[in-house]
Each structure stands twice: as structure tokens, then as C-alpha cells.
């Protein structure tokens, strides 16, 4: 057997890599952080008060998008927007959701960093959209 043939045996086919990715996803799905996030997300989706508070905040954000971008909101508009935001983010169910999201993100960042260090480039940057537009 030549060294080329040996090397070919060592190559992981795309099917094998996808299978490893599926096993990885299954392991991540079993973590307490992921399960807590799923439960918090479901409670958030089902909570009418949280959905209404989010809708009211987003509605104003969209309506005043231009003014927000130009930093041209009046003092009254700024106060109203801040009040709608606080009414939304201070709801216990929303706080729980953001906390669970943050804890899952910390776990994913740890795993992503480990993958990035090994493969030679930043996993999240390579796969994700730029946050800066």
C-alpha cells in the first residue's frame, strides 16, 4: 500500500463530518444551558404580556427608526421609548429568557473558540453574518 493510499484512508468524507456535526448538535442539545434556553424561549413565546410589551417597543422602534439613526428623538420620544423598553425587558419572563440566552451563548462561545483554535480560523466569523452591516 502506497503512502497516498494510506492518506486516502485517513480522509474523513463529507458524510462522516456531517455525522460528527450531528453528534455534536445532539450533545449540545442535551446540555442544561440549551434545555434551559429552550424552556425559557417557549415560556416567552407563550406569554401574552411579554409578546405585547415586545410588540409595543418594536412598533415604536420601527416608526422612529429614521430619527433614532439620526439621533434626533425629542426628549419626550426618548422617554417614551425608554419606558416601553423597560416595560419589556424588566418582565421576569423576559429577564429569564435573556439570562438563558446569555448562558447558552457563553457555552457556544467556549465551544466555538475551541473549534477556531484547532482549525486555524474563527468559526463564528467564517460562518456568521457581520454584525456591523
Amino acid at each position: 500500500m502506497t503512502s497516498t493510499e494510506l492518506n486516502e484512508l485517513d480522509i474523513a468524507t463529507p458524510t462522516v463530518v456531517v455525522a460528527a456535526a450531528r453528534d455534536f448538535a445532539a450533545s449540545l442539545a442535551e446540555t442544561s444551558q440549551f434545555q434551559a434556553f429552550e424552556q425559557a424561549a417557549e415560556r416567552f413565546r407563550q406569554d401574552q404580556a411579554a409578546q405585547q410589551a415586545m410588540g409595543a417597543y418594536q412598533e415604536k422602534q420601527i416608526a422612529w427608526r429614521g430619527l433614532i439613526m439620526l439621533n434626533a428623538l425629542s426628549a419626550e420620544q426618548r422617554t417614551e421609548l425608554e419606558s416601553l423598553k423597560n416595560a419589556f425587558v424588566n418582565l421576569p419572563i423576559v429577564e429569564e429568557y435573556f439570562k438563558a440566552q446569555s448562558e447558552l451563548a457563553t457555552l457556544c462561545q467556549t465551544v466555538g473558540d475551541a473549534i477556531s483554535e484547532s482549525i486555524g480560523f474563527n468559526y463564528a466569523a467564517a460562518c456568521g453574518e457581520s454584525c456591523c452591516g
Partner: protein, 124 residues
């Protein structure tokens, strides 16, 4: 605070890394990266490109871009585009990134979240 991974997740992560690195596209990328680092022409050329780009960016910021620096950058860019070691590296990196995106899509579909977005450190 350091997040401790469960043994199961640690093992699954390592298996994913090992399989990615053993895939044809990543092996090609690692080989091309090794070649570019060892190549006596390609590596200095990449460094010159990076330095020249930084200088022009700096001049653009201060509003005084020099024609000589722009001409020099164009010349280096032309040499980079003719260098087979650099071209192979760039192509292999793009192919590895495309494959990684497919793998991320697979993971994300199973989880119901975009894994890469969660793995991204907040920067802005």
C-alpha cells in the same frame, strides 16, 4: 468565568474538530497554509501587501493618500494575483469556509438556532 464542558460535549467537540481536520478540504487548506508560511516569495509578499494596505488606509483616514503609495499597492496586488502559492491558499481557504458553513447549517438546523451567531463574541 471559564465554562466547563461536560465530558460528552467535550468528546463530541473533539470528534467534530478531528473529522473537520481530516476532511479533504481542510487537509488541502492546512497544506496550503504550510506552503505559504514556508514559501520564500509568498510570505514576504503577503506581509508587504498587508503593510501597504494599512498605510493606504491610514492615509485615507487622514485625507492625504499619496499616489506613490497607491501605485505601490497596485503593483503588490498584481504580484499577489500572479503567485500560485497565494492563489492556492486563498482558494483552499474559501473552500474550507464554504464547507464549514455547510456544517454549521447542519448543526443549526438540528438545534433550531444559528450556532455561529451564539458562538460569536459581541463586538459591536
Amino acid at each position: 468565568m471559564q465554562t466547563v464542558l461536560s465530558p460528552q460535549l467535550q468528546e463530541a467537540t473533539q470528534s467534530l474538530i478531528d473529522n473537520l481536520l481530516a476532511s479533504e478540504l481542510f487537509m488541502h487548506y492546512q497544506e496550503a497554509r504550510k506552503l505559504i508560511n514556508e514559501d520564500s516569495e509568498a510570505r514576504p509578499l503577503m506581509e508587504r501587501l498587508s503593510n501597504s494596505q494599512a498605510t493606504v488606509r491610514q492615509q485615507q483616514t487622514s485625507g492625504s493618500v499619496g499616489q506613490a503609495e497607491v501605485d505601490s499597492l497596485r503593483l503588490i496586488q498584481q504580484r499577489v494575483l500572479r503567485n500560485p502559492v497565494i492563489l492556492d491558499y486563498a482558494q483552499s481557504q474559501q473552500e474550507a469556509v464554504d464547507f464549514l458553513r455547510e456544517i454549521n447549517a447542519e448543526i443549526s438546523q438540528l438545534l433550531g438556532i444559528d450556532f455561529a451567531s451564539f458562538a460569536k463574541h459581541a463586538t459591536c
